[in-house]
């Protein structure tokens, strides 16, 4: 990969974690009206950018994801969240494509977020961090691509909030997007989803250690609140069928219920584990800010209430993917998106994949997801004239 460093940027490999950090000195104009900056984007890349820079795939991560799509998480040591998808010979084939994944604005894995120091005060931003939107996240990513010298993405993809970013890319920078694959996503966050996010945020804010958001300055961490937020959210990522298949009413390391409030049931123990491991790697204020960004996401509202207008004149190729058991981003929302794209005669494919894995299916081994995406990308590569030899 060659890097073009313009005077606006300073690039330095991360000292502690794998990957890169890009310092953007110019301010980012946020939707909330604030010019924010300078700011840092932490990102990771896989594969090699071809000479005409036409083989880049931007992978956008979900709410609690990060840039480590295909290498071990530097804190938990767990495999990358999309390591079954990104790699040599895999669907996002790093022998063929140059895969970029950046931590979102407001995140806590190196890109500027509420846990970073506000240069004006010398204290962590906490709640003085501006409220950001999915469009702001995408604007920040656009800086990164400009820095990498990539005018046009071969593909932008991601699941859940990653899918929202893919849609935002297609709407905001249609000329930069050859293909977009939003998975388990929607053109707006539903009332039900906003409601679940609000439960999570209230759980965090109800934790005394949250301290009005100033916990880092005070040397505390609202681990209980953040864990509860994660537990509640995690239920929404699964399905009733998946929970039943995995746990049923099985008891945890005991033969009978204890008539107490211990984790008698396996499902309780599982959720507690999910909650407690999450707090090690995620910042509570980041959770507030990123959930808010998702809540505010509404592509139609950005275009006078008309979703087709968001894609008017688009030449991008779309592949919309949903899962039958996803009740957080149900198929009906994907279908609405398909109708909007049809209304502007866009080139769109739409696949609903049968699975009981719920919303989380995009992170799991779903053979049909892999097959569909592989076929779609191969078709697109043919149209783009991408060959293997460069």
């Amino acid at each position: 990969m060659s890097t073009v460093i313009s005077p606006r940027f300073r690039v330095a490999p991360d000292q502690d974690w794998p990957g890169y950090r890009l310092l953007v000195r110019e301010p980012l104009q946020l939707d909330c009206g604030i010019d924010f900056g300078p700011f840092t984007i932490a990102y990771q890349t896989y594969g090699t950018l071809n000479p005409d820079r036409s083989n880049a795939i931007l992978v956008c991560h979900a709410l609690t994801g990060d840039q480590y799509a295909a290498d071990p998480h530097p804190i938990t040591g767990k495999p990358g969240w999309w390591e079954t998808m990104v790699g040599s010979g895999l669907v996002l084939d790093t022998d063929r494509y140059f895969v970029i994944c950046a931590n979102v604005l407001g995140g806590c894995m190196g890109t500027t977020g509420p846990q970073d120091i506000n240069p004006a005060t010398g204290e962590p931003w906490a709640l003085s961090f501006p409220v950001i939107t999915v469009r702001d996240m995408v604007r920040a990513q656009k800086w990164l691509l400009d820095h990498l010298g990539i005018d046009s993405l071969f593909c932008v993809t991601g699941g859940s909030m990653g899918g929202m970013q893919a849609l935002q890319w297609a709407a905001s920078y249609p000329e930069c997007v050859f293909a977009a694959v939003p998975i388990a996503a929607a053109a707006r966050h539903s009332a039900q989803n906003i409601a679940f996010h609000e439960v999570g945020r209230q759980a965090i804010m109800a934790d005394p250690d949250w301290s009005g958001g100033r916990y880092l300055s005070l040397g505390r961490k609202p681990v209980r609140g953040l864990a509860v937020a994660r537990m509640a959210a995690h239920i929404t990522y699964l399905s009733e069928a998946a929970l039943h298949r995995k746990f049923g009413r099985n008891l945890q390391d005991r033969r009978a219920v204890t008539y107490g409030f211990d984790a008698d049931f396996q499902v309780e123990s599982y959720l507690r584990h999910q909650g407690s491991t999450f707090v090690d790697r995620f910042d509570a204020n980041s959770y507030l800010y990123i959930t808010r960004a998702m809540d505010y996401f509404d592509l139609a509202a950005e275009h006078g209430g008309s979703l087709p207008s968001a894609f008017q004149g688009t030449r991008s190729r779309f592949c919309i993917i949903s899962f039958t058991s996803d009740w957080l981003f149900p198929t009906s929302e994907s279908r609405e998106l398909v109708h909007a794209l049809n209304a502007v005669a866009a080139n769109v494919s739409f696949v609903e994949i049968e699975t009981d894995n719920g919303h989380d299916a995009f992170l799991l081994h779903e053979p049909e997801l892999f097959e569909t995406l592989r076929g779609f990308l191969t078709g697109c590569a043919e149209h783009r004239g991408l060959t293997r030899s460069w």
Binding site: R317, C319, I320, R335, V338, H339, A340, N342, A343, V344, A345, N347, V348, S349, F350, V351, E352, I353, E354, E368, E371, T372, R374, G375, F376, T378, G379, C380, E382
Partner: protein, 235 residues
């Protein structure tokens, strides 16, 4: 394919490609589909509704260099198509066509699907709205064997093209060629061309509007346009 679909899918006994395989060689394409393919100009924008495993689309993309889209009810069909690089959406002719803008396509193909729609009349009107031309094929219920079957056996006819018993057929709006032409006339859809076919998709040299065609043809294949209503001409 039909075993996995959520709603019944018509099966007319034509040669289906094995699941997951899209045939594109001219010799392997079903004969009625080949006939349709020959009616489509190279480079055209085409929507194939009920595109199945994508055989026709794949053929047109490969050999006619068209800009092709598909719509298919069965999930397995859609997945096979998209997995082969075709632009196909999971959808239903009754429900999912309205979103397309007027004149979005040069040609809209509805092959052996009309009789399985809930609102065939509205579907036809939509076809000629969203496409400059529509190519529609359907089994002819006026075919002599069907008539004879009902007359002699007194039971709901089944044939090579109509393989379901009455209680589980997806073919809820069967019609004869004359019925079809009469409806087109009624709703101002212009018939540009009609071809009558045997069960293998081999064309007969019969006048498609005539009563002999209605008796002898097993399938009808029509090229339609909405020109009588909006005044434009495409002939």
């Amino acid at each position: 394919m039909s075993a996995l679909s959520k709603s019944p899918k018509p099966n007319f006994g034509g040669a289906k490609a094995p699941s997951g395989a899209v045939v594109v060689a001219p010799g392997e394409l079903r004969r009625d589909l080949r006939l349709i393919a020959e009616m489509i100009d190279p480079g055209a924008r085409v929507l194939d509704i009920g595109c199945g495993d994508g055989s026709l689309l794949a053929y047109l993309v490969r050999h006619r260099n068209i800009d092709g889209r598909g719509m298919e009810l069965s999930q397995s069909g859609v997945n096979a198509c998209v997995g082969h690089g075709l632009s196909v959406v999971q959808g239903d002719a009754d429900r999912d066509l309205d979103a397309y803008p007027t004149g979005a396509f040069d040609v809209v193909v509805l092959s052996q699907t009309l009789q399985a729609t809930r609102q065939p009349r509205q579907v036809l009107e939509t076809l000629v709205r969203i496409g400059r031309r529509a190519i529609v094929s359907f089994p002819n219920f006026g075919f002599w064997r069907i008539r004879l079957h009902l007359l002699l056996c007194g039971r709901m006819p089944m044939s090579h093209l109509l393989t379901y018993p009455w209680y589980e057929t997806p073919n809820i709006h069967l019609c004869t060629i004359r019925d079809f032409v009469a409806m087109c006339d009624e709703i101002g859809v212009r018939v540009e061309r009609g071809v009558t076919l045997d069960r293998h998709g081999q064309p007969y040299s019969l006048v498609p509007h005539g009563s002999l065609a209605n008796l002898l043809a097993e399938q009808g294949l029509f090229v339609l346009s909405g020109s009588r209503r909006d005044g434009s001409t495409t002939a």
